[in-house]
């Protein structure tokens, strides 16, 4: 699942995860993502989450997902321009598994997903 209010950023993220054979569902903000999740029988394996979005922001989304036992298996990765040390600590404390700062290269994103065991070995280059 790719959650970002920028369609351009969603496109870029979708292109990258498609290379790892993920099929991505898009959401334009945290509330839209939560609404979508509520209707889904199969929980997505991975969510790439922007921080600054209207309605429910990325940090609130992470907090809500972590409080929901049904969504416990989802791997949560913040993908944001928020790059203060304190913000990264906040997101990790709220339950995000990884944190990618924008701008990121395709290689960097794939390396981060590899850290989370989401990339088959050899696909990383």
């Amino acid at each position: 699942m790719v959650i970002d209010d920028s369609r351009a950023m969603r496109m870029i993220l979708k292109r990258i995860v498609a290379k790892l054979n993920f099929e991505a569902i898009e959401a334009g903000d945290g509330q839209e993502a939560l609404d979508l999740l509520a209707t889904m029988t199969e929980v997505p394996e991975l969510a790439l989450i922007d921080w600054n979005m209207p309605n429910v922001n990325g940090l609130e989304f992470v907090t809500k997902v972590r409080a929901e036992p049904r969504l416990r298996e989802m791997t949560l990765v913040m993908v944001t321009t928020e790059s203060e040390q304190s913000q990264i600590v906040r997101a990790l404390a709220a339950g995000a598994h990884e944190y990618v700062i924008k701008p990121f290269t395709e290689g960097a994103m794939i390396e981060k997903l590899a850290l989370l065991g989401l990339v088959p070995t050899g696909a990383n280059s």
């Binding site: 369609r7 351009a8 209207p54 321009t81 304190s86 924008k102 290269t105």
Partner: protein, 159 residues
């Protein structure tokens, strides 16, 4: 804590380089070439505002051709297929990315607005109450592109 915050041209240049290598020119064949010409005409202006402990704006400006080219690179489409909405979305995200990184260099407690993109010439008239504190001016494939930072004058006076 000082409000005399320095985000230098070198800092902006480094951010630009990172945006280019990440999205606009991943193969490293078409960099932004710095010209220093702050009078160059631009037609698209994307702005994020910073509020909180520091007040001002980050403006990403470029020609329509450069804007279409940026959008095409982001969205993996041809430049002539790019719509006005595509330009608005991509240029907004570019200002957001640079703005977020600039914010991290400012005193703690700043907030970033959502970006505003206008397709019109001349940026200064939109922010009459702000003064430019740094700017990076150059060309990308011959097309003008600039990134500049503006600090609200009112805050300076009261600081």
């Amino acid at each position: 804590m000082s409000v005399e915050t320095v985000v230098t041209e070198d800092d902006l240049a480094e951010m630009v380089e990172q945006v280019w290598v990440s999205y606009l020119d991943p193969e490293g064949v078409s960099p932004l070439v710095v010209s220093g010409d702050d009078k160059q005409a631009t037609e698209v202006h994307s702005t994020v505002s910073i509020t909180g402990t520091w007040h001002g704006h980050l403006v990403y400006a470029c020609s329509l051709v450069a804007a279409k080219k940026s959008a095409a690179a982001f969205l993996a489409m041809e430049a002539d297929e790019v719509s006005q909405e595509d330009i608005s979305d991509v240029l907004g995200e570019l200002a957001n990315i640079v703005g977020g990184n600039v914010k991290a260099m400012l005193p703690a407690g700043c907030f970033l607005s959502l970006p505003t993109v206008v397709l019109a010439p001349d940026t200064a008239s939109y922010y009459p109450a702000a003064a430019r504190i740094s700017g990076l001016y150059g060309t990308w494939d011959g097309e003008p592109v600039s990134i500049s930072m503006w600090q609200s004058v009112k805050q300076e006076a009261s600081a």
